[in-house]
């Protein structure tokens, strides 16, 4: 039974329905499932609830599904890069459920791992904790957060073998792993599909059992904030410094 589909549209066939919940990988524009997003835009599925750390930018990433007004609700930690998002949100056209970034990642992993809820200190005593159950453990207060169980996960990996065993590249890994876990069905797009045995079995990031449909494709991989240092700077540059260009 092959997991390989020719296009994202083929892979999505039969899975999309109005009002569904989708978990998407990616952080900012890094490691986002470009192909599935484009295919969902094309399919026109409406009233989507999307769990994704960010909401893309205007014209790219999940931003294209906002522009086409296919999204009813976003569950995210940071949506600051998207004017259309803000317009729809402030105009009351779009629901927004803020999730602390780590809580969002853990909620996805929890759903994928059959954990219905968990207690975290994150957000206790803040707006995020309002209406959530509080419980004390070892003298400290924790709030209950629930696992995310998505109808569909759309994620992007670097390489996968034909059975779906996947590896990610550098920080493009981010939410792709927990998002993949929490989907009833997971569509994974990759830069390269390889034969079983080409990936080291010790170094599979996401075992193939989590991956139902695979698509190989080309990616734009847009950079959101290009920051560089100059070559003439021969001193040891400290971490994360230089200049924006």
């Amino acid at each position: 039974m092959s997991k390989i589909y020719n296009t994202a549209a083929d892979a999505l066939d039969g899975l999309l329905f109005d009002g569904m919940t989708i978990a998407a990988g990616g952080f900012g524009l890094c490691g986002i499932p470009e192909l599935s997003i484009a295919a969902i835009r094309e399919a026109g599925t409406k009233d989507l609830t999307i769990y994704s750390n960010n909401a893309g930018v205007d014209g790219f990433g999940l931003g294209v599904l906002l522009e086409s007004k296919q999204v009813k609700k976003m569950g995210s930690s940071y949506v600051g890069e998207n004017k259309e998002f803000m317009r729809q949100y402030l105009g009351g056209e779009l629901e927004l459920e803020f999730n602390p970034q780590g809580t969002l990642a853990e909620r996805m992993r929890a759903g994928g791992a059959g954990i219905a809820g968990f207690y975290t200190k994150t957000g206790y005593g803040t707006q995020i904790g309002e209406g959530k159950e509080v419980k004390e453990f070892h003298g400290e207060k924790y709030i209950l957060e629930e696992g995310i169980f998505a109808d569909l996960a759309i994620v992007k990996a670097w390489k996968a073998d034909t059975t779906g065993n996947a590896v990610f590249r550098k920080t493009a890994r981010n939410f792709n792993e927990p998002a993949a876990m929490c989907g009833k069905v997971c569509i994974m797009e990759v830069e390269e599909i390889v034969e079983p045995g080409e990936l080291d079995p010790n170094h599979i990031h996401l075992p193939g059992v989590f991956v139902h449909r695979l698509v190989q494709g080309e990616f734009e991989k847009r950079i959101e904030q290009r920051t560089v240092r100059q070559r003439y700077d021969t001193s040891t540059s400290p971490a994360g410094t230089g200049e924006e260009v």
């Binding site: 890094c30 970034q101 780590g102 920080t171 847009r222 994360g240």
Partner: protein
């Protein structure tokens, strides 16, 4: 002559100890990386999934798969490790990151922090800030002592929505260094050319000394 942004970053860097794992927020905290003391080796964590963050890449060597939590292109180091977001926040929430240096909109005298939201204004989200203040062992805030309009940022009680309750341990401003202690803030250092009177005047939080 109060402290400049770089002075504040330099002062914050004095809090770093050899072997620490540290998360630096956006803004002045990022500058801390420029002033890590001689002989002190720290590992920078980026909450999007990386330990051991290196400098920005040389022009032409930017890698779209390698960014920091501020979405800037960066580089890796020999001891870098990459991981997914749930692992990244496992180490943050689990108390494995020794220090976070963050900015603030308001800090209360009991260590409450507000730095993610101004009601009625554009809301972008808390990102990883709530997880960081809830999980990291020692949270240091670096901020101007007053807002642009001159209003105190170190206050009795936060008026803005909180990022975390009682989470800040130390505050470094352009006027000095403050510890959050039982009963309020303790002046630990006064910036050169600044008087205690000026600090008292520009601070709404209770100062205990």
């Amino acid at each position: 002559m109060s402290w400049t942004r770089d002075d504040m970053a330099k002062r914050a860097a004095q809090e770093l100890e050899d072997g620490m794992y540290v998360n630096l927020g956006i803004g002045i905290p990022t500058l801390v990386a420029n002033y890590i003391p001689e002989g002190v080796s720290v590992t920078l964590q980026s909450e999007n999934g990386m330990l051991g963050m290196g400098p920005f890449p040389y022009e032409g060597e930017e890698d779209p798969d390698l960014i920091n939590a501020g979405k800037q292109t960066i580089t890796e180091l020999p001891h870098t490790a990459f991981f997914d977001s749930s692992m990244s926040f496992a180490m943050i929430r689990g108390g494995k990151i020794n220090m976070a240096i963050l900015g603030a909109m308001e800090v209360a005298e009991n260590g409450d922090l507000a730095n993610w939201m101004i009601p009625g204004k554009l809301v972008k989200g808390m990102g990883g800030a709530m997880d960081l203040v809830a999980g990291v062992k020692r949270v240091i805030v670096v901020t101007d002592h007053t807002s642009k309009s001159g209003a105190p940022k170190l206050i009795k009680e936060c008026t803005l929505p909180l990022t975390g309750k009682g989470v800040v341990k130390m505050i470094i401003t352009d006027l000095g260094v403050f510890n959050v202690v039982e009963g309020g803030l303790e002046i630990k250092e006064v910036a050169p050319g600044v008087t205690r009177e000026e600090i008292y005047e520009k601070t709404a939080a209770k100062i205990v000394n």
